[in-house]
């Protein structure tokens, strides 16, 4: 719509120009330059609909042709054209200030207002004072002052905009080599133009005297320098679009990352925004930074924009970034998608780790509880059932003694003896049972003594080498004891060995066990359920278990138990 108006205006201007006998060369050049603004503006609107820059360029194109009426010499159109020429400078200055501003807003407003006021003053002077009846000196004065002001403010716009571009917003850093020179030349041209007006009005001479055709070409060059801005802007936009996507490096960065700090760095690199901050929610209420420091909830402000990762009510992260990034919604959306994947993955992974930790802990707890239970059972057997059986035996013994003294029948005495003998057997069996469940000697005297007692009961000679510094924790001692016991039982039952060796070393943070025999080998943890149970038990405590048993080469059982 705007574009149609501008193009129509351009046509009218050209037609009017031709009708009024303006030089064709002038009209053609003017038309081409104006159309550059229109075409670039249209393309920019199409490429970056979110940005007002394209529309501004179109407006520039429209304003371009206003000045074209000046050279027509038409009695009405000439003064209007002359009065309102070069308003596109104001729009161009605004565009440069906007593009260079960190928030992509028109800042500082006062500068644009000052420039606008100066141009408006010039227009008023030309409209009201350029009359032979009016004092010509007043026109000249307004012309000189306003043009000096315009030159000054235009130069200032150049300085501000270029300075800011040098320091660079995130989006423009990549294309500043395009925008910087174009903006520089354009603002210099603006300033020079107005300076020339002021100077020539004041002195009657041109600031830069070049003989034609050089002078004319120079004038056109200054005039046309403005078109560099739309061309540069268009090229920059195209370049930003065709620039290699940041997602590849981002994914790579996220893959490498092992902490959220790395994620932040990958994001900053991918989006080209060094000011970007990644916030993560904790407990649904609070937010933390990448370092884990508490942070205020993410909220947009003049200079910061917020993009949430995931649904609004339960975002998995928030990016607090430069508002300029909002102009690249596709990029931002793509980055957010990748980030969301990465964060979801991270969350799942940490959930999995947490579950694994919980399972590992509960497995260790189960084994520990079973161990405590065995100890309790052993105590109960000794202090309960066994004591009672001994009581029974004492009673039988007393009965026997009474039977003796009172001359009871031989049959009764024999029955009492048989009962006593049965009771003794029960006591012995109970003792064996209790020892198998949990040997008291292990708790009373420690691993070395308990293993020595154990080895004594094995049918083959057992050599023991043990270097311990005092007692270990109950859990470690009993696990080591039962590992050795099971290994020796295995040796005795299946290995047909003539000799076994037990070595125990407490090295660093672990107890290392080794039980070897010179038997027939062929034992495997899978086969014997006893060895299987051992492996489970050791692993539940974070230990390791290994059986090396080749046919004919004896069996070697290795185990480690963490002691810390």
């Amino acid at each position: 719509m705007l574009a149609a108006c501008v193009i129509a205006f351009a046509m009218i201007t050209t037609v009017v120009g031709i009708a009024n006998g303006a030089p064709v060369q002038f009209l053609a050049t003017d038309l081409v330059m104006g159309l550059v603004f229109v075409i670039c503006g249209l393309t920019a609107v199409w490429l970056r609909p979110a940005s007002p820059a394209g529309a501004m360029l179109l407006v520039c194109g429209g304003l371009w042709f206003v000045g074209s009426y000046a050279p027509t010499g038409h009695p009405v159109l000439f003064p209007l054209g002359f009065a309102f020429e070069r308003y596109y400078d104001l729009v161009l200055a605004a565009l440069l200030l906007m593009l260079s501003s960190p928030s992509q807003r028109l800042q500082p407003l006062w500068l644009i207002r000052a420039l606008g006021a100066s141009i408006a003053a010039r227009s008023l002077g030309r409209l009201l004072l350029l009359d032979p009846d009016v004092n010509f000196a007043a026109f000249e004065a307004v012309e000189i002052v306003s043009n000096f002001a315009i030159a000054g403010f235009a130069a200032l716009v150049g300085v501000v905009a270029l300075g800011r571009l040098m320091r660079s917003g995130p989006v423009w850093r990549r294309v500043r080599w395009l925008i910087l020179p174009a903006g520089g030349v354009a603002t210099t041209a603006m300033a020079f133009d107005s300076l020339e007006y002021a100077w020539s009005t004041a002195t009657g001479n041109l600031l830069v005297e070049i003989e034609d055709p050089g002078g004319e070409i120079f004038a056109w060059a200054v005039f046309g320098a403005r078109t560099l801005v739309p061309i540069a802007y268009l090229l920059a936009t195209l370049r930003l679009r065709s620039a290699p996507g940041p997602l590849g490096p981002l994914s790579a960065g996220l893959e490498r990352s092992d902490g959220s700090g790395m994620v932040g760095n990958a994001l900053r690199a991918a989006l080209g925004d060094s000011s970007l901050v990644l916030l993560r929610p904790v407990d649904g209420e609070r937010w933390i930074t990448e370092d884990g420091a508490p942070s205020a909830p993410p909220a947009p402000s003049d200079s910061r924009a917020v993009t949430l990762v995931g649904p609004e009510d339960r975002a998995s992260a928030a990016l607090v970034h430069h508002p300029a990034l909002l102009e690249q919604p596709e990029l931002l959306a793509a980055v957010v998608r990748v980030l969301r994947l990465a964060l979801d993955n991270e969350r799942l992974e940490s959930e999995l780790r947490e579950q694994l930790r919980a399972v590992t802990e509960s497995r260790a707890r189960i084994v520990t509880a079973a161990e405590e239970e065995r100890r309790r059972l052993e105590r109960d057997l000794h202090d309960g059932a066994q004591q009672r059986l001994i009581g029974v035996m004492l009673a039988l013994q007393q009965a026997r003694s009474t039977a003796d003294s009172q001359g009871a029948p031989k049959a009764l005495r024999e029955q009492l003896d048989a009962a006593a003998s049965e009771t003794t057997g029960a006591i012995n069996e109970l003792r064996e049972l209790a020892r198998g469940i949990h040997p008291a000697i292990l708790e009373d005297e420690g691993l070395e003594v308990a293993v020595a007692a154990l080895a004594r009961r094995v049918g083959i000679p057992v050599e023991i080498g043990m270097t311990l510094n005092g007692r270990l924790s109950r859990m470690v001692e009993s696990t080591a004891y039962f590992t050795i016991a099971e290994a020796l039982t295995n040796t005795q039952r299946h290995a047909r060995a003539s000799h076994a060796t037990v070595r125990v070393v407490h090295a660093g943070t672990a107890l290392a066990l080794e039980v070897t025999d010179d038997g027939q080998g062929g034992a495997a943890a899978e086969r014997g359920s006893g060895l299987n149970g051992l492996a489970d038990r050791l692993m539940a405590l974070g230990g390791r278990f290994e059986v090396v048993s080749n046919d004919g080469c004896g069996t070697r059982i290795l185990a480690t138990i963490p002691t810390e």
């Binding site: 004591q387 035996m393 004492l394 013994q397 009771t423 009373d444 005297e445 004594r456 083959i460």
Partner: protein
């Protein structure tokens, strides 16, 4: 002859009274009964007996009985200590006998069913001798004979060795094995020869030598 004084310590009242009864029937005068280690030590300090029969496992916890027995042996050398235990492991007995084999005994509670065995051990300990449960000695002998194949003790010699280690006199051993004292002395010479030990006429020293040997300290 004044009866020998004895103290019985066990946290089970049934066992305490049973032991006291057997001791009384065997000619001891039970002067005190203790339910835990502290009561035992107090009673011994109040009136040192000839014999203290002590349960290895007593309050206040763990093997407080064994610890109390060791304390008595250290502080009251004239008191004989007979520890009653449910543990077959010789390590407990060796710990008890480590400080010397006079006036000390270690019996399994199973022996409470055999009043004669208990009284025999009690009298030996009270008289300054030693007594180690044959089952406990058996553990040591079995392991030793298994390990040391050079020593070919006959079954008979093994039995004799166990009885020697248990602290019996030659006469008692001969009686148990149903042989004459002369025969036993010959056999004991053979046994000690095979073990490479000196036969010692002192019963207590002989017990210690055999125990140490059996435990492997001599090898």
């Amino acid at each position: 002859m004044t009866p020998l004084r004895a103290i019985v310590a066990d946290d089970s009242v049934v066992i305490r009274q049973g032991v006291a009864r057997i001791l009384a029937e065997g000619g001891f005068r039970v002067t005190a009964e203790a339910r835990d280690a502290n009561e035992l030590l107090e009673a011994v300090a109040t009136e040192p007996p000839h014999l203290a029969v002590v349960d290895i496992r007593m309050p206040p916890g763990g093997n407080a009985g064994l610890d109390a027995a060791l304390t008595i042996r250290e502080r009251f050398p004239t008191v004989g200590v007979l520890v009653l235990s449910q543990f077959l492991e010789p390590e407990y007995a060796l710990r008890l006998l480590g400080a010397g084999v006079d006036r000390v005994g270690y019996l399994l509670k199973d022996r409470l069913g055999e009043a004669d065995e208990l009284l025999d051990a009690a009298h030996r300990v009270a008289a300054g001798g030693s007594a180690v449960d044959p089952a406990v000695i058996g553990e040591l002998v079995r392991a030793r004979r298994r390990d040391d194949r050079l020593i070919r003790l006959t079954d008979r010699e093994g039995q004799a060795l166990a009885l020697i280690a248990a602290g019996h006199s030659n006469r008692a051993i001969a009686e148990r094995l149903g042989i004459t004292t002369k025969t036993l002395e010959g056999m004991s010479g053979t046994i000690f020869g095979k073990l490479g030990l000196e036969d010692d006429p002192d019963v207590n020293r002989r017990v210690l030598a055999v125990l140490l040997y059996l435990d492997g300290a001599g090898s």
